[in-house]
């Protein structure tokens, strides 16, 4: 079992739907991340939150909207997604965004866009 919990594990949605992915960690970490991973590729960074503030947006389309309600929770709001957005979405956390400590990942949400 990982210490970063993501829900749901699987999500199928149409291109006009609005849905949200959720992530929770209770390790006291102050940095949280969203990654996108396509099959047989390494994770690609999307967003970084440091002390609940958005620090990095890796030029992600606006149909992805992150939110960090508190230091333990991270959401990713989805709207009007495209078929190419189908992927495994991973959440991670680390002690601080500028530290050399490792990031710890959840098991992801498998997203399929019809």
């Amino acid at each position: 079992d990982t210490e970063v919990t993501q829900t749901p594990k699987h999500l199928v949605m149409g291109m006009t739907n609005k849905k949200s992915l959720k992530c929770e960690q209770h390790m006291g970490h102050r940095a949280m991340y969203w990654y996108k991973q396509k099959a047989k590729k390494p994770p690609e960074l999307m967003f970084v939150y440091s002390y609940e503030k958005l620090s990095i947006n890796e030029s992600v389309p606006s149909r992805f909207s992150p939110e960090c309600p508190n230091s333990s929770l991270l959401n990713l709001h989805l709207h009007a997604l495209q078929p190419e957005d189908s992927a495994l979405y991973l959440c991670a956390s680390s002690h601080m965004a500028n530290s050399n400590q490792p990031q710890h990942f959840g098991d992801g949400t498998r997203l399929s866009i019809l």
């Binding site: 990982t2 970063v4 960074l45 440091s50 991973l90 500028n98 050399n100 098991d107 992801g108």
Partner: protein, 113 residues
């Protein structure tokens, strides 16, 4: 530009056949190197952090080592349950002070009985 290259891309071993995976890196000012294991449909599981050349870390059948240019993940007498994709990653300096993780493409290891 900071880069991480892993080899081989895929490796097939018989149970008990020891081998090594390679991670070569080019980064300005190494601030650590991380090894992860990823099973299909799961997130990467943290294995080791190495911070300086000459450092070694061990966990069960795995041993990670670090030089100034590369890291090796040695697998001794592997078992089928060691089958997974192994990723290495380094933090890369960023203008905002944030260390972005640069991942290698991974090595897909299959251990057959």
């Amino acid at each position: 530009e900071d880069q991480v290259t892993q080899s081989p891309e895929a490796l097939r071993l018989q149970e008990g056949e020891s081998s090594s995976l390679n991670c070569s890196y080019t980064v300005s000012g190494l601030r650590g190197l991380f090894w992860y294991r990823q099973d299909p449909g799961k997130g990467p599981e943290f294995l080791f952090t190495l911070y300086s050349a000459g450092e070694e870390k061990e966990k069960e059948r795995l041993k990670a080592t670090l030089t100034k240019k590369e890291s090796f993940l040695h697998i001794t007498a592997p078992k089928p349950e060691d089958s997974a994709t192994y990723l290495c990653a380094v933090p890369s300096g960023f203008s905002g002070g944030y260390n972005k993780l640069i991942f290698g493409a991974g090595t897909r290891l299959a251990v057959h009985p």
